[in-house]
Each structure stands twice: as structure tokens, then as C-alpha cells.
Symmetry: C2
Subunit: 250 residues, 2 copies
Amino acid sequence: MTISITPIAGLPMVRPGDDLPELLFAGMQRSGLSLEDRDVLLVCQKVVSKSEGRVVDLRTVTPSPFAEQITASTNGKDARVVEVILRETKRIVKMEAGRLIVETGPGWVCANAGVDESNSGDPHLVVLLPRDPDASARRLVAAAEARSGCRIGVIVTDTFGRPWREGLVDFALGAAGIEPLLDLRGTRDLGGRELHHTILAQADALAAAAGLVMQKGSGIPAALVRGYRFAPGSGGATQLIRPRGSDLFR
Amino acid sequence: MTISITPIAGLPMVRPGDDLPELLFAGMQRSGLSLEDRDVLLVCQKVVSKSEGRVVDLRTVTPSPFAEQITASTNGKDARVVEVILRETKRIVKMEAGRLIVETGPGWVCANAGVDESNSGDPHLVVLLPRDPDASARRLVAAAEARSGCRIGVIVTDTFGRPWREGLVDFALGAAGIEPLLDLRGTRDLGGRELHHTILAQADALAAAAGLVMQKGSGIPAALVRGYRFAPGSGGATQLIRPRGSDLFR
């Protein structure tokens, strides 16, 4: 079965308070797309955050002494941006070589707590991660299912770096309607050997796939994946966070 | 532009010495697929390794004292498998909680040096990573381009775990015909702000996408991605290896 990934284009610059589902449906309509059963709608974090008002005007931010102190070692970052990052940080994982890898409130490990200075639409604004990306995804599922009458999966994506490997890839930050993990344990391989360790991060694979059409700067904030026959589920993307106790690299 | 991911099915169990390009082309033909310009052919490491004879019969392996010693702490692994892993290892990154995260000869950081006990087709055999996955990819590109007269990208994929996140995702281990990294630095975002840090690991995103149709145990060892308008290039997947000196997590 062929899987297709179609960009959803033509959205306006999203602003706080915008009705994101309506903007997405209008974009889909202009792209000649309508929702079908078990489509997966992937939406980049940036537009979700902006529609939810998760933006900060740097002119309102006064850096703490600690933010000022570490700014000196972070490659000329704006101290106010560092302050915003620290406010989104539960724990600093690494602070080295001008980079700030932190754990956010929900437990995501990423650079700069996901605080993003690009594509904000205003040089004074930075965009934060959604407060609860799974809740954002659930709201989008509800709107998409109400509109289409179909079972829809929604994944909120963000673009992260990774240890050990160069380059950025899109990951799942929020999910609803589709289980983020696909557990194949207990199934058998071609030789009949039982698979013991195989749990696939299908939400991350879908996010990476959608990233192929939503590349930064392309103006494509969403994509529709069709043909991936997932089992509908009620899990959320926080299931993708490895608990600190079983993580060898935290 | 819609991107499609089509599974290539119907390959026989691959054996050492098999002509992998011919098996793949026959599989494509049976799936009604022919190569078009700038298709990306993704092939799982397992069949590449097997065709190249990168298998070890455990009955021929005598564990070293060190392999015996660490076997006790690795959740009941077979000491001969540990011995094979150590022979593929340049450096142990983490040895903890029954897990063995190592750096392989070319510098890939992964669990068990990529040595795999499943889908080998014989309970005595384990499959190693290809010796030079970029060279494997180059051979497949040469065969695919000779056959089709088109510019083709090839990516050899493997399924890895990741720090911080649960679940497995497919990554690029070898690449040819397509640059593994897509450098967007110097381009501008929607607000005109220059992107300073944006280098996308497009080969990893393509691998993850292909993983959606090549899930372990599915018997699908390859996939064709169409519609991804990449710029042909001469790089290889080793460019995805972050040098140890600039890696905060090694």
C-alpha cells in the first residue's frame, strides 16, 4: 500500500487567537484535499503555538542575573531569549560550547527549550512550545473528526537536533487519535523468531516524513499523510519521552 | 507536490552472493514500479548485508574472556553474540543496564554495533552492518541508473533507538546519489530573517518515511520514494556522523 504525503499550503501568517482548524481546513480545500478515514494530519508546532498565543515579546523581558551570566557563553545569544528559555526549562541537561540542551516542563529534551526566533512574523517575538501539545492535538482531532466523520490522527511536529548525528529532523511533540508507539513485541520475524525489543516510534517516523514537505522557510506548516493504516488509539506523545531513570544519556 | 512511499515486496530471502539490484528490480517489476528521474530507493541494511556476506555463524565464534565477563551483565545475551559485537566495536560509549551502546568502525553510534539476531533466516546466523554502507549505496545507484537512465538516490537504512525518546525509528546508514544533508543556511524565513542553523538530515527523514512501509517483520525490505525533488549530489551518509569533538553526548 502506497503512503502519500501532501503539503497543506496557502495558510496566512497565523496569529494568537486564530481558529487553527478552520485555517487548516481552508488550506486543505484550496489544495483540493478532503479528509478520509485514517488520514494523519501533521501540523508544525509553530502555527499551533502562535494560534494558542504562546509568543513572548522580548521588549517585555528582563533577563535574570543567571540569564545574563550564561549569555556570555552562548555564542552571542540575546540575554532576553536566554531568559525566556530558562523560564521554559525544568532542568539543564547540557550547557556547553554555546549550546543549551534542556528538559522542558513536560520532559522533552531539546535545544533552547524549543524557543524559536525564526518565522515568528515579528523580530521582537519569539515562539514557545505549546503548553500541552497532546491537548493541542486532541483539539485538532476533535475538529477534524467533527468535520469529516472519519477517524483522524493528528501529530504536532517540531524540528530537533539529535545526539551523535548531524542535521535536524522533525519529531512528534503532540499526538492524538493515533498511538505514538507501535508495539510489535510478541510478533514474529520471517524466520519465526519472536521480536523482543521492537517498539516503533511511528509518530516520530510520520513527523519525519511530513518534514520532507514542510521544510523550514517553505511556508508549508502542515501535511496530510494518507494510506498509513494505523490503529486508532488514545495515547499521547508524552509516551515518547524516555523516563530519566531508564535513559542512559541524561 | 505530493511525495509517495511505495513498498517493494516479493523479494526472496536474500543470501550471500545474491545480486541485490536484480532482486530489487524484479520486486519492483512485480509491484508494477519502474524507476523515474529523482526517485529515491531505500533498502534496509539487512538485505544489503546478507547479499554482501556480512553474516556470522555463531557456531564458529569463541567468546573472549572480556565478552564472557560482560555477558553476565547484559540480560542473558549469548556470549558469542557479545563477542561478535565487540569485534565490530571501535569504542564502547555506554555499557549499563544490560545495554551496550558502541561506536562502530565508521563511527556510527548504535546499540550492539548493529549486530542483529532477527530475520537472519537461520537461528545460528547473526547479521552485521555492511562494511561500507556508502559503497553499498553507490553500487545500487550505479545499477539503478544504468538500468533506468535516470538520476536515482539510494539510501541504506537501519532501525535504531535514540537517547531521550522511546521507540525505534529508521535512519540512514548509507547514501549515494543524494546529499544526506540539506543545507538551508543563508536562506530566509517567512519574515525575512536569515536561517543560521538549519541543516536538515534529509536522508534520515527519508529513511524514517520509508520505515513506515518497511516495518520489522513485514517482509518488505525496500521502498521507493517518488516526488522528493532533491538535488543530486556525491556525498555519503558518513556526513551524518557528528564528530566526537562536537558531540555533547559522547
